[in-house]
Symmetry: C2
Subunit: 241 residues, 2 copies
């Protein structure tokens, strides 16, 4: 284990894409729901375009162009933009609400729960996600994620990669930045955390965006740990020195 | 089950006294530590007087007499007040810090974990405590409390029984007050929650303050559920209608 990692006491995880498979989960969930309700649509296309609006929507909050709203609200607004294109204009209010909450019903990648459960024996493990608190709480129950603590940028009224997201997470844990490791499958999230002084761990999720993904296929910076997945992260961090 | 309880989706628990036995835990922890370190003191007396300063210290924050500080800070200030009376003036800084963090190392009452684990199968279960986030996170790891989400008044920069503690907890869970049940062994906590519209569950902890306890021996108001303990709360809430 690297010396830089020795004092780490808490691991905070990016969730969407890093811990849970948002694309595969949305396609599975809405395909099954659509079948039950005789609603056909290009659910994969909807998932991709919905996620495509994620950064631009958050950016309006980050820049102050609009005041704080949480991710459930942003997801719903994006969904309303996409509904006409996907031939879903007949959805009722209750159906739109159900579809919007698909982000609360995401499944973990196969290695996530076993890896996190092992890491929990030595470290505090928490989310550090742009998902709002109720989203992350319901997702954890749905997917069986064994968080010790749910940290959300909603608590801090900002969105990663704003530096206050990482700084506030350390402060609320009562830890110094070098005692906290940001764990993610996204280079930009880790670079932002490292700039605040956190330790960093990367693993790739080459299928997060489906086949043909071009970004985040490998660690593009000097992170403290580079792993194959969360199980491998546990292998590397739990080695006796 | 009462009709008023049917729509409840989340149970939020008071922790000190209701879920964990602060007095017994502090006496056990500091007695063992004192023995190991050849430090003798009236640990039961310290626990009682320390807790005695809890409400007056928080009251200064509630009234705005002083600006927000979290419970670790208040506990440390109270400890410093008591150290001379208890003959502990020779404690080093590291020892004072260790003693102060005894509030992170409290054990659950015997019924708590089995009751909460069963309740978790149907409800979101969270703390709603005046303990700060890191205190509650470490306490949960130490005692094995199976929270879905750690809610602390630190997130809202207030102290129960201020109404915003309960209102903000509901809002962050994305739930209406009537969908959230405050669960506690303290009448005043439940009355304050009910005033904000939350549902309420009471059970007594007749030994919270040790032998000779005079308060909170029974439900003094019309709460939605009155139980013997958390296991009994689970029995009552998990009955099929």
């Amino acid at each position: 284990m690297k010396a830089s990692v020795k004092n780490v006491r808490a691991l905070v995880f990016d969730t969407f894409g890093s811990v849970v498979d948002w694309r595969g989960s949305i396609i599975r969930d809405l395909s099954a729901w659509g079948k039950d309700n005789h609603i056909q649509a290009d659910w994969a296309g909807l998932a991709d375009q919905w996620r495509g609006l994620y950064q631009p929507q958050m950016q309006k909050v980050r820049t102050g162009e609009r005041s704080w709203v949480n991710l459930d609200v942003l997801h719903r607004e994006s969904l309303e933009i996409l509904i006409p294109q996907f031939g879903l204009s007949n959805l009722t209010e209750a159906q739109r609400h159900h579809v919007n909450l698909v982000w609360h019903r995401l499944d973990a990648w196969p290695d996530a729960i076993s890896g996190m459960t092992r890491l929990k024996s030595k470290y505090i493990i928490g989310s550090l996600s742009n998902g709002n608190v109720s989203l992350l709480t319901e997702m954890a129950k749905h997917a069986g994620l064994p968080w010790d603590v749910i940290l959300s940028t909603e608590w801090f009224r900002c969105y990663k990669p704003q530096p206050q997201a990482y700084a506030n997470a350390c402060e609320i844990l009562g830890l110094k930045p070098q005692e906290v490791m940001m764990c993610a499958a996204h280079n930009d999230d880790l670079v932002a955390a490292a700039n605040v002084g956190l330790r960093t761990a990367f693993w790739p999720r080459p299928l997060e965006y489906g086949p043909g993904q071009h970004k985040d296929l490998r660690a593009e910076h000097e992170f403290d740990v580079v792993a194959k997945d969360i199980r491998d992260l546990a292998d590397q961090l739990l080695i006796q020195p």
